[in-house]
Every structure is written in C-alpha cells, then in structure tokens.
C-alpha cells in the first residue's frame, strides 16, 4: 500500500517537475503534458523499440503494405549501420486494418503497452485524424508518410509526404504554364478530394481558370460511364483527378474506351504512383500526368541504390513509389533528429528537429521545425508505356512546406 502511494507520489513529482521545466522553457503549451510526460520508453538496453502501424489487411492493404516493406528495409539498413545512438531498432508491427478506429487503438497500444519511441505509418487522412489525439494526449511521435490535403500541423506528427503547396499548387502552376484555361475536377467523395478541390477552385478563381465541372464518386465506385460522359461533354482543357484507390482503374478504362486521350484532354492525378499504374494497366493510362515528389526513375546515385536495394530485397518486379520513399525517408529523419537531440525523448526531439536533413532518394529533404513538414521538390511526371513515370517538370529546388497556404493571397479563408 505504502509503496504504491510512494510510487504515485514520485510519478506525480516527476510529472510536475517536467511540466514546470517545459513551461519554463516555453517550449510548448499542452494541457495533456503533465500526465503524458511519464513516458515508458525503455532506453536502458542495447535495443530501442519503434512501432510500424500500417493497414496489412482491408481495402488500404494494397497501398500500405508497400509502405511497410520500405519501412522494414530502412530499419534493417539503420541496424546494419550500427543503429540509432548505438541501439538496435526492434520493430513492433501492428495492423491498422484500414479502419481509423483500429489505427487509434493500435497507436494507443504501441505507445502505452509496447512503449515504442516513435510510430511510423498511417495512410488515409481519416486514419491520421483518428490517431492525432492519441499522439497528442500521450505526447508521443507519429511519422506520417503520405501526401495529404494540408491545413493541419501537430507538434506530435512529422509529415514526410507533401502538403498541398508541394504537390497540388505546383501541379496547377504547371497546367497553367501549359496554357490550360479550364479544368474538370473528378474525385472520390471524402475528405482529401473535397479539401483539395476547395484549394483548386480558389486557385482557379485567382488565376482565371474556369472550372467546367466537379464530380465526386463514392470510394470504391466502379461505374464511371456517366461521370466520364459528363467530362467529355464539358470539354475542359484538362482533368484534375483526386480519385483514390480502385476507382482510378474504372475511371481510366472508361476514359480510354470513350476515346478520350492524353493529347486531347490530359488527366493530372495526385494519387496514382508506380504501384497503382500496374493495376490500372499502363496501356490505359500511358501519357497521362501525375504530381509527386519522387519517381522510381529519378536519376541520382542515392535513388539508384534505393531502388536496387528494394528490388534485391523484395523482387525485381517490384516498383518504388512516392509514399514508400517518404516512409523510408521518415525513419532516417527520425534517426537524424534523435542524434541531433542526443536522446529519444520526445521534447528533446521536437526541439532538435528544425533543420535536420537527409540525403533521400528524392533529393535532400529538410525538416521545418515550425510546422513539422519537410521541404520537398515538386515533380510533374508523365506515365510511360512501361508503367514507370518520367519527370516532365521539376520545381528545381525544395519548396518550403506551407500547410496552411499562408503565403498565397488566394488561399485566404481556406484554413477556416
């Protein structure tokens, strides 16, 4: 009885003093920090635990298993090179099962029961939104690897995929440069396309681009005959595609079978990478445009090594894609932050994060300590008949992340 009370008092004291210390530093203002500061991460041994949380089953497994593979490879490489601060990484893998609620539960488990130092994973925005309060409440770290709709930043999440000003805005700039004056918007009916299209419409209005139509299909929708007929009849210069998952296959097959071509009416997609091209069929989508920050064809020694390592490990027929590269990079960025902080402590990592950079397959990326996103180079790519994507246009240099689009006058009011 008395030991329990003593331990509780000690804990309280630690929590209080940590809270006071943090408050004194002015590092953060967080209502949950008191209780959460008592992290259970065990840094005493020669190993350190990290969590991988990806959908290994369910509808998102198609995409997230590839992210898991590249995370696993990154961990193996880091361990091979001596680990992080001399400690070997031990992976605790959990299945998010394509359900946001499961992501939240498993995140809680990884943090509280497994006591991992950081969690890597998530794909859909709904999974991220579900995990966000868990990571904030427990004051833990999540590394999220997928491009998303922006308008978010959390001290407990590092976003290693693109935010809108590193993908969608450059894509619009590119189309405008090509002389596109009207657009048709096609997307899946959920948070990412709806938000992305709000941004696109604001951009279009400010830049004299006419929006000829806007169509949403439920996730998993497979009959695109009516939507593609509407696209054809509207006669826009180009189509901006924010469809997700399997719907893309049905959309492009229908597009093709109505005789619409990349020359006559190009489609620019933001959710189709090398991995998806295989399922759509390269012949159905060759010549169309995509916007990302990484392609397998990037011609650099670092990327060649990355691709060859990946194919050696998982098979020569496998392809690498932007989210996989961002996930791979995220693990090395975490390593860089830990080493810069000299500690696995969350607050220390947050304080040391700014400016940490990594020579990634996509090029050098740097963490922005303010909003926890990273500076990335925007690349517009064209899908080639062999299923790979070639860079058509590049921003040349990394673009600083601006998740709330504060540097664009036309985006005023979008964040609200």
């Amino acid at each position: 009885m008395s030991t329990v009370r003593a331990r509780r008092t000690a804990l309280l004291a630690v929590a209080l003093s940590t809270g006071l210390f943090l408050a004194a530093c002015g590092a953060r203002v967080d209502d949950a920090s008191g209780a959460a500061a008592a992290s259970c991460v065990d840094t005493s041994g020669s190993e350190i635990k990290i969590g991988f949380l990806n959908s290994r089953s369910g509808t998102m497994a198609i995409s997230e298993n590839t992210v898991y593979d590249s995370l696993e490879m990154a961990a193996a490489q880091i361990n091979g090179a001596g680990g992080v601060l001399g400690k070997q990484l031990t992976i605790v893998a959990e299945d998010g099962a394509s359900e946001p609620t499961v992501f939240a539960e498993k995140a809680e488990k990884l943090i509280r029961d497994d006591c991992v130092a950081a969690v890597f994973g998530g794909w859909t925005s709904s999974s991220r939104k579900a995990m966000l309060p868990v990571f904030e409440g427990n004051d833990a770290l999540l590394f999220y690897p997928v491009q998303y709709e922006g308008l978010e930043s959390s001290p407990n999440i590092f976003y290693t995929g693109a935010t809108t000003n590193q993908q969608i805005v450059p894509a619009l700039d590119y189309l405008k440069e090509q002389g596109v004056t009207s657009l048709f918007l096609v997307g899946s009916d959920y948070v990412f396309p709806q938000t992305a299209n709000r941004i696109i419409k604001a951009y279009a209005e400010a830049n004299g681009i006419e929006i000829k139509g806007e169509e949403y299909a439920p996730l998993g929708y497979t009959d695109f005959s009516t939507i593609v007929a509407k696209v054809r009849d509207a006669g826009a210069d180009a189509v901006f595609n924010t469809l997700n998952g399997d719907s893309n296959v049905a959309f492009f097959k229908e597009y093709q079978s109505l005789g619409l071509t990349a020359e006559a009416m190009p489609v620019l997609s933001v959710s189709i990478a090398e991995e998806e091209v295989g399922g759509i069929g390269a012949s159905n989508i060759a010549g169309q445009l995509v916007a990302w920050n990484y392609y397998q064809t990037i011609d650099s020694p670092v990327n060649k090594q990355f691709v060859s390592d990946f194919q050696t490990l998982y098979g020569a027929d496998r392809v690498t894609s932007d989210p996989m590269e961002a996930a791979y990079t995220s693990l090395f960025l975490w390593k860089g932050m830990v080493e810069a902080a000299g500690s696995f402590d969350v607050a220390a990592i947050q304080a040391a994060a700014d400016g940490v950079s990594f020579d990634a397959p996509e090029g050098t990326v740097t963490v922005n300590g303010e909003n926890h996103h990273i500076a990335k180079t925007a690349l517009i790519g064209r899908i080639s008949p062999d299923g790979l994507i070639n860079t058509e246009w590049s921003s040349g240099a990394p673009i600083e992340p601006d998740p709330y689009l504060t540097s664009y006058p036309w985006a005023e009011g979008l964040a609200g």
């Binding site: 198609i62 439920p218 399997d246 079978s257 759509i280």
Partner: protein
C-alpha cells in the same frame, strides 16, 4: 436527345454489368434459399482467371475469349466445392449460410492477396474492344457493347437451358416444390449441386467481363455483391427474368439520377427507391408461383 441516348445507353451498360453479377445469384439464391456472400469472390476468381489465362495466351484478343469458358468452370468448381463442403449442411437456414459464406469470402480474398499480391493486376483489353464505335453520330464504347451482348447472351442461354433441357426442368421443379420433385424421382441433391455449378459459373463469366471496366484486385467481389443481391431481391427471388428487368431498371435509373445530380446522391436515392418499392411490393417485380409451403 443526345443526352437521352447517351444516358440510356450508359444505364443499359451499367445494368448489363449488374445483370452478369446477379444472374448466377438469382439462380442459387432462388432455388436453394442460400445467401451466398462468396458469390462476389467467385466473380473475383473469374477476373483473376482472365489474368492467368492472359499470362499463358499472350494475344489479348484470344485470351479474353478463352477466359470465358475457363472462368465458367473455375467459378463453377468453386461453387460446387462450397456447396459440397459447407452449404449442403444448412439449406433453409439462410442466416447461417450468410455468415458461413461471408467467412468463406474473407478467406478467398486473403488467399488471393497471398497468391497474386495486394496490388491490383491488369488484363489487357483486346484491340477490337478498344475505343468507341460511332453509330449515327453517337459514340458507344466497344467494351460496353461487348458486355451488353454478353449479358444478354448469358441470360438467353440460361433461360433456354431452364426451359428446354431436362436439367432445366429438374431445376424448375425443385424450385417450385422440393418435396414433390423428390417424390417424383428427381434427385434434388444432384440438382442442387448442378445448379450451384451453373450459378457460380456465371459469376466467373461476370468476372471476365468486369476486367474490361474495373479493377482486378482482391476486393473486387465486395464492390458488386450488394448490388447483385439488390437486383435479385428487386427482381423477385427465384426469377431470372425479374433479375433482367431489375438490373436494367436499376442501371437506367441510377445513370439518370447520376446525370442530373451526383454519383453519391444517385447511390443514396436508388437505395431509397428500392426500399420504397419493397414496401409496396415485398416479393419483388415477379412473384414466384409455387405450391410449396416452405
């Protein structure tokens, strides 16, 4: 006028996809009262069969035609295995069959993932189905016309088989009154098994057709199973011609609402219409005339 023609065609082509997915289900659900949630995975198996056949037969034009009979057999065999191992123990316990076949569908999906990988695969459409064909100034996608033709052919074949062949007569007799059929010397067990073979075979054929319009991934079946059941219920259980009318009706209504509103609203409104329709006519478009009490 142009919109009218385009949308009616889109509706019919959407309906033909629904019909292919539902035809086999109408047979098995109708005759045996088993709710086969794995029917969607039989469709998926048909689609993957087309993929495998394409690996063997490299010519896209030939491989599609070869796939159709092969997928029929693959779907049929899967159906018979399911029937022989599990379903025959639970006839007239529809809720049990629902749960069991749902489990089977999950197993089949995972199996597909393990064998073919989680990413979707691609079946290359033959050259002669690429692009649209112009008729009186209207552009109709060839692949859609092909599916429409295939759906009508499948229906006619099934209807003729049920009407004119001895097996068809046995099936009809079993549907209408199982006990009486049995006492007249029909082996309803064998009939059931053959019915399941044919019904599941049609699922395989549907899978091949779907490779022309959609994705071939482990969750292909889940995209179609609900719509297929809707067609069967609206058409009237046990009624092949009801399924035809229901499929085309749903296709046309869906495409019209979708044209004037959005895809999401169309989906909701079609559901609402179906619910309203079933309030007025719970037995569906056609009612099965039977003297059986069961």
């Amino acid at each position: 006028m142009e919109i009218l023609v385009t949308q009616v065609f889109n509706g019919l082509s959407g309906g033909s996809v629904l019909l292919l997915a539902a035809l086999g289900l109408a047979l098995t659900f109708g005759q045996m009262g088993v709710i086969n949630m794995a029917h969607g995975e039989f469709i998926m198996a048909g689609a993957y069969t087309a993929f495998v056949v394409q690996q063997v037969v490299s010519s896209a034009g030939v491989s599609l035609l070869v796939s159709l009979p092969v997928a029929f057999v693959v779907g049929g065999v899967l159906g018979v295995v399911l029937e022989a191992t599990l379903l025959r123990r639970m006839y007239h316990r529809p809720l049990d069959t629902l749960l069991v076949t749902w489990g089977v569908s999950l197993v089949l999906q995972q199996l597909t993932r393990d064998v073919f990988g989680t990413a979707g695969v691609d079946v290359v459409a033959p050259e002669w189905l690429a692009g649209p064909v112009e008729v009186l100034g209207f552009a109709f996608p060839r692949s859609r016309l092909f599916i429409l033709g295939l759906a009508i052919a499948a229906f006619l074949a099934l209807a003729a088989g049920l009407r004119f062949t001895p097996l068809g007569r046995r099936i009809r007799a079993t549907v209408q009154n199982r006990q009486l059929a049995e006492s007249s010397g029909i082996s309803t067990r064998a009939t059931d098994r053959l019915t399941f073979f044919i019904g599941s075979g049609f699922a395989g054929v549907a899978g091949v057709a779907l490779t022309l319009v959609g994705s071939i991934s482990p969750n292909l079946g889940t995209s179609y199973i609900v719509d297929a059941f809707l067609v069967v219920v609206v058409g009237g259980i046990g009624q092949i011609k009801g399924a035809v009318i229901a499929a085309f009706l749903l296709g046309v209504v869906q495409s019209w609402i979708e044209y004037t509103t959005t895809a999401s609203i169309a989906k909701v409104l079609v559901f609402a219409l179906i619910i309203a329709f079933l309030q007025v006519r719970p037995q569906g478009i056609y009612k099965l005339r039977t003297r059986s009490l069961a």
